[in-house]
Amino acid sequence: MLIGIDLGTTNSAVALWQNNEDGGEAVLVPNALGAALTPSAVSVLPDGNTLVGAAALERVGLKDGATATSFKRLMGTDRKQKLGKKEFSAEELSALVLMSLRDDVTAHTGTRPTEAVITVPAYFNDRQRKATRRAGELAGLTVRRLINEPTAAALAFGLQDKEEREPFLVFDLGGGTFDVSIVEMFEGIVEVRASAGDNRLGGDDFNSAIATAVRGRLDPDGLLGKIDERRAEALLLQAAERTKRGLSDGQDAEFALTVEGARLSTTVTASEFEAQAEGLIRRLRDPVVRALRDSQIDAASLSEVVLVGGATRMPLVRKAITRLFGRFPNSSVHPDHAVALGAAIQGGLIARDSGLEEIRITDVCPFTLGIETAEHSARGTVQQGLFSPIIERNTPVPVSRSGVFSTMGDGQKQIEVKIYQGEAREVSGNVHLGQLKVPVPPRPAGEVAIDVRFSYDSSGLLEVDVEVPLTGAKHNLVIIDEEDRKAASDLESRRKALAALKHHPREEATNQMLLARAERCYEEFLGDVRAVVGDRTRMFVTALDSQDPRRIADAAADLSGLLDMLEANPPL
């Protein structure tokens, strides 16, 4: 079975394509708690068990929280996060989320999925894409295709009514990444015209902006400085997220958190938030301008501006979008569900499912690919490290292009072809993807030419062919970087290591969630209330130990009733 997964910075979701009498449709698969969204959070309990999703997120600010969030931002890097006693890389943490989603589908359909379409931000570079692919494989899924998030959203939006659509713009501001795509639909063709983005801009940055703004006045005694730095940050960001949501409804919101038995609180006004986030709002414009410029489309002739991603719910962001485009955006798709649904549609397309026969999708390569070259400067020196593009950004894929390059030195015996991705004129500003050495016959400078051909396929795999016409020799390189080579050997062992981690049984998910929530409330509330929470939690744990389903259900109802009441009307 082929599933579609939206692996997000804040939340993830899984959907599948179901055939029915009308043809078929994409449906979301609920998780063990019955929710469509699973927070992208992983926590390791003191007993070594791992938790994924809402329960893990509840633990993020706890003293022994050992919880990782927003790890998508570290994809493609070597940074590891320590949870409990173990260290995890971003792709391993993502794999744990993917495994949890896979299990949700197994529980929902009774069949274990083996293949997946996973979405990535359009502006993810090659390394980040590879890391995502590996995460899928670590989770035991064959990744049939990586598809760009705005493209997936466009599919979901476009297939709502299957109508012809003039170019529309997908504005995808997620938790950690920002993408813009310009898409057009006609005659069953979904054509992405251009994509641009900023893979370091998202809702998380708005939380950080709030946290930075209030930290000084919130905590004049420096209480947060006394606790673990990571925990202090987690508490601040968690509180900022609540404040941000509050500001979506009102003109001001409380910023409050409890640390070491002390409650810190302050008020943030909408205008203060606006001033604080001004720099972030400004950064929204650049990718939009680039995408419009590349596709030669005027903002006024866009038929719609489609909002995707949780961060587009912020009134601040909506206001900015309205100003950018001179119109109100379209919010007819669910900002959190569209990407997963689109991934499932893509899955259906790959499987050639009925109801999708008439649909084709064409995408673009959102960044420039090329090789390093050197040239003689006007002053007679040799300037090295220059980037010579071969495939320009926003070229429709699949694509195959070539360029001719020649030797620079007399009697040069080999040419080193270094492959880069990016927009900088000097390769030092771009991402290095790989290299290959091509031996050439020694001749005077400039007399030996090589033909470098780049082939980039629909799932973002780059193949480089180099031919030396003088000798007829051919060289081929499927881009595999260092991590890939390393990963190929130990992928299997890493998969086993991950599989060997103890996971809390799925059927216990609700109880685990309740327990984590009670723990958080215990740390958040003070005095008598705290004692009551502690009391009821102990009763619940005793009931769990008794393994008597009825007793467990009673205690759970009791505890969750209490927590609901407390959280709805905070005593402070």
Binding site: S301, L324, P398, A424, S458
Partner: protein, 601 residues
């Protein structure tokens, strides 16, 4: 791909029907596996794009007739007869679909003189159903700057009327007018003058309005303003220099730096911006290359040596760095000075001993000079031991007479010491102080007069160099006459006056010259132009060949000797004659080099 091939690939007959082209494309696309047939896919796309381009070209003339070259941009005109604006807009969008692939034909506002007014009239109307107005004459049309082929007027943001007092396009127009001076046809290659103070203030004000406007409009309009402004500033460089930083900040030009897709005009401006930034930094005394910068920017002249306290390594680093990274700021360097340093190290060592000795001798002279000035300076403010307390009445009368004598000679009898005190107190103090010194030296009244006359002449000359214009011409006119008078005594006396600005006492200046000089001195005194002199920096100027010919005729000296003399070589007689002739010739010269030459003589 030729159009014929395109129709073949698409498998349809030539048609301007966009829908048919798309349908054919979709059919072909669905029939192929694009991952297996990459070239086939590329060919199909190319064919479709070529076909659509052709179809668009067929459609264009009709569109132009209907909308007066504003196809798809004037929903207000189109919607006016329609009672339901929303529907009108929809139908308008439909009409636009025919040209979806590329933006609508570029507007050519200049062709329609009534355009600005007409669109301007429409500006305040707000289409309530869609929430945006079709306001505004796009700036570039009103101004008529070369347009981007894809740029076109766009709908603005929610702000219906931008600025009631002065709409944005008027600010843009004003900015353009300020930056592009009405150049005469022949001044094509001359650099335009920098913005004057008031112009700069106005330009910054307009720029601010333009930038504020840009931040409130839709992205396309923003992009268009971005492009327009980048080209405007590039085209008007260096006049536009003061506007660069604020504009770059709003449009984020620096983030585009080093990108493959960096626009040429933005690349040009970024290079300037980097140069500006570097110059600001290096002008701070703390910068490690500051001394080297000062050295290289100090004008050199004949006989100048390299600076003594500057490390060669620093100068070389600065020179190499500027040439590599900021070639555009190399013009701040003095070419003669650079030439001194550019000489290879080896060529310099031969004269090493000599230059070092000279250095010490010069340093010794410098110290002596400083000491002398220190003494002279302290006299006026009375901190030096005052002269014997009691001057006899006769002595006081004698001083008064001597001072008035000098004043008579320099300014004429209408200026008294009290008058001078009220007009130029520091100069009056100099007169009395020098009188005191003269009496203690035992020098006579004539020597005293000569001394203060030199001081006044120096002040006149220094002020003229700063003021330029007619004053410079007048002062140089008198100076030429003074040099002529000095030459009567000897070429050495003439050159001594040029070099030290001290007039030899044997020189008898004709009364006519003295009279002219007095008139000028009084005029400058009335205008308070005889304050302490600014430092007279050596400089150099280009002398056109035609002017050299004039000098040849006036002085009767052959060209080669003239060139030598101009470079400070040759006999005193030649140099004196050439200087006088050059002043005369330059005063009569109509060209723009006149002032520059008069400023260095």
């Amino acid at each position: 791909m030729t159009p014929t091939q395109a129709w073949q690939v698409l498998g349809i007959k030539k048609t301007p029907d966009v829908a048919a082209i798309r349908r054919a494309y979709a059919e072909r696309l669905k029939a192929m596996d694009i991952d297996k047939d990459v070239d086939g896919y590329a060919r199909l796309r190319e064919a479709r794009d070529a076909a659509l381009r052709w179809a668009r070209m067929q459609a264009k003339p009709a569109v132009e007739d209907e909308f007066d070259s504003f196809a798809g941009v004037t929903p207000i005109d189109a919607s006016e007869p329609d009672p339901q604006p929303a529907r009108a807009l929809e139908s308008h969008q439909e009409s636009e679909t025919s040209s979806w692939l590329y933006a609508a034909p570029s507007a050519r506002g200049e062709a329609d003189p009534s355009l600005t007014t007409r669109l301007g009239d429409n500006a305040p109307k707000l289409d309530v159903t869609t929430g945006f107005s079709a306001a505004q004459a796009p700036a570039e049309q009103a101004i008529g700057v070369g347009r981007d082929p894809f740029a076109r007027p766009v709908l603005l943001g929610l702000e219906a009327t931008s600025d009631a007092v002065m709409p944005a396009w008027a600010h843009e127009q004003a900015l353009h007018r300020l930056l592009y001076v009405d150049e005469p046809q022949d001044a094509r290659d001359a650099t335009p003058p920098p913005l004057e103070g008031w112009e700069e203030a106005m330009a910054l004000g307009h720029l601010k309005a333009v930038l504020r406007h840009a931040e409130t409009v839709s992205v396309t309009a923003f992009d268009e303003i971005d492009n327009w402004l980048a080209r405007l500033l590039t085209g008007a460089w260096p006049r536009s220099a003061p506007l660069l930083e604020p504009a770059a900040a709003v449009f984020g030009w620096e983030s585009e730096r080093g990108q493959v897709s960096e626009r040429p005009s933005v690349a040009f401006l970024n290079a300037r911006l980097r140069g500006l930034r570097f110059r600001e930094k290096v002008l701070e005394p703390k910068h490690p290359l500051h001394k080297a910068w000062v050295e290289l920017t100090t004008p050199a002249q004949q006989g100048s040596r390299k600076g003594w306290f500057v490390k060669r390594a620093d100068v070389e680093q600065l020179l190499a760095g500027v040439r590599k990274n900021f070639p555009e700021i190399e013009h701040h360097f003095d070419p003669w000075r650079v030439a001194l340093w550019d000489k290879p190290e080896g060529a310099d060592t031969g004269s090493g001993w000599f230059s070092k000795t000279r250095l010490w001798i010069f340093a010794a002279i410098l110290v002596v000079q400083i000491l002398r000035f220190a003494l002279a300076d302290r006299t006026p403010d009375g901190s030096t031991p005052p002269p014997p307390v009691a001057l006899s009445a006769s002595e006081i009368a004698e001083d008064g007479k001597a001072i008035q004598g000098a004043l008579n000679r320099i300014f004429g009898p209408e200026i008294t010491l009290d008058g001078l005190k009220s007009l130029q107190p520091d100069l009056a103090a100099l007169f009395t102080a020098n009188r005191t010194i003269a009496r203690s030296d035992g020098s006579d009244a004539a020597a005293y007069t000569a001394k203060v006359h030199d001081l006044v002449r120096e002040r006149m000359y220094a002020t003229a160099l700063v003021e330029k214009g007619p004053l410079l011409a007048d002062v140089q006119q008198v100076r030429a006459d003074l040099l002529r008078a000095a030459r009567e005594v000897g070429a050495a006396q003439c050159m001594a006056f040029v070099r030290t600005r001290r007039m030899d006492r044997q020189v008898a200046v004709p009364d006519a010259v003295l009279g002219a000089e007095r008139k000028l001195a009084v005029r400058m005194l009335d205008a308070s132009q005889l304050g302490p002199p600014a430092r007279i920096a050596p400089g150099n100027a280009q002398v056109p060949g035609a002017l050299v010919d004039k000098v040849m005729t006036l002085s009767g000296i052959p060209e080669e000797r003239i060139r030598k003399a101009m470079n400070g070589q040759g006999s005193d007689a030649d140099q004196c004659a050439v200087t006088i002739a050059l002043i005369d010739a330059a005063l009569a010269w109509p060209g723009k080099e006149r002032e520059a030459i008069l400023s260095v003589l």
